[in-house]
Symmetry: C2
Subunit: 190 residues, 2 copies
């Protein structure tokens, strides 16, 4: 039994590869173990919480990835330009890695690492909103609106909920315009 030399990060790597290739259904400890060249119970040496923890680790990793993409898209831009770029990056990530994106919201209990990653993601949005003069509570409400639009469109388009033949890119453009218009006229506290 040659030692494979697995680490938690490598386990997550294998899990993400399986997720990308075969979807959420195929993500089982058995399949991850097979891919890592190890018996199923051996995974518990690295991911002691079993499947639940693996899913948590995946959510953290994916949230971090997404936050990276949004941060990259925002750099060097401001205002409508920044919001547009961030929303496009969001949608590009979601459609480019549909199974990863779908695996995101299944992390139930509030976890410290996940909270940190999510906070970073929200931070990017909040930063972009400063270009509209928004901060404090109104920036929070605006950021939630941004996330709702981005997530809703991503989620619905991934699951194939938009059945008609109209171009999705056009829909996304309209959606972005709606958002930027709303942000420009966002209520300012007195």
């Amino acid at each position: 039994m040659p030692r494979v030399g697995l680490t938690p990060d490598q386990v997550v790597d294998h899990a993400l590869a399986l997720l990308d290739e075969q979807g959420t259904e195929a993500l089982t400890l058995a399949s991850v173990a097979a891919r890592a060249g190890v018996a199923t119970p051996s995974l518990y040496k690295h991911v002691s919480g079993g499947l639940a923890e693996l899913r948590r680790l995946i959510a953290v990793r994916v949230t971090d990835e997404l936050a990276d993409r949004l941060a990259e898209a925002a750099v060097g831009r401001s205002g409508d330009d920044a919001v547009t770029a961030v929303l496009r990056a969001y949608q590009a990530y979601a459609t480019g890695h549909p199974h990863r994106y779908t695996a995101l919201p299944q992390a139930p209990q509030p976890d410290e690492d996940l909270t940190r990653a999510a906070t970073r993601l929200v931070g990017v949005i909040i930063a972009v909103l400063r270009g509209y003069g928004l901060d404090g509570s109104e920036a929070i409400h605006a950021a939630r609106t941004v996330r709702s639009l981005a997530h809703g469109f991503a989620s619905l388009s991934i699951t194939g909920a938009f059945q008609l033949t109209e171009d999705l890119t056009t829909t996304h453009d309209r959606l972005v315009t709606t958002l930027t218009t709303g942000l420009r006229s966002w209520p300012r506290p007195a």
Copy 2:
């Protein structure tokens, strides 16, 4: 073995009750069968496709319910008033039946009944959009935007993705305003 006299609809009833009470994890054929007073394999007499079909039937039922609520909310209203009422009804249904709502998007393959129910739901939105003079392709894009916002906010709020203390109702109000503003200035084909 006294005959229970089960029907597919009753199986779905029991499944929904379990879903409401104990969440998605607890929705198994075994638990549904126990609740119906029947051995697990007997369910296949009514839901021949097993768990997959049961989930499909649930999605159809929930989509129909949601469409009903939206239609009720829209009746007798128009314009911003109608959009506001529809979005509030949407969010009220989602938060009132979080597990049902979460069970919605897992229906993978395009099913005839599900398509019919979803079409009815979209129809309510399209009808409301006529109050803004929207029809044709632009109405489709606008309806997708409406769904994205409604679904995104519902999904994120149900899963607890909004962690800060700011009032969710206020966020929803802002979100609705953003949407109505966008609809009023929606691009009209020449």
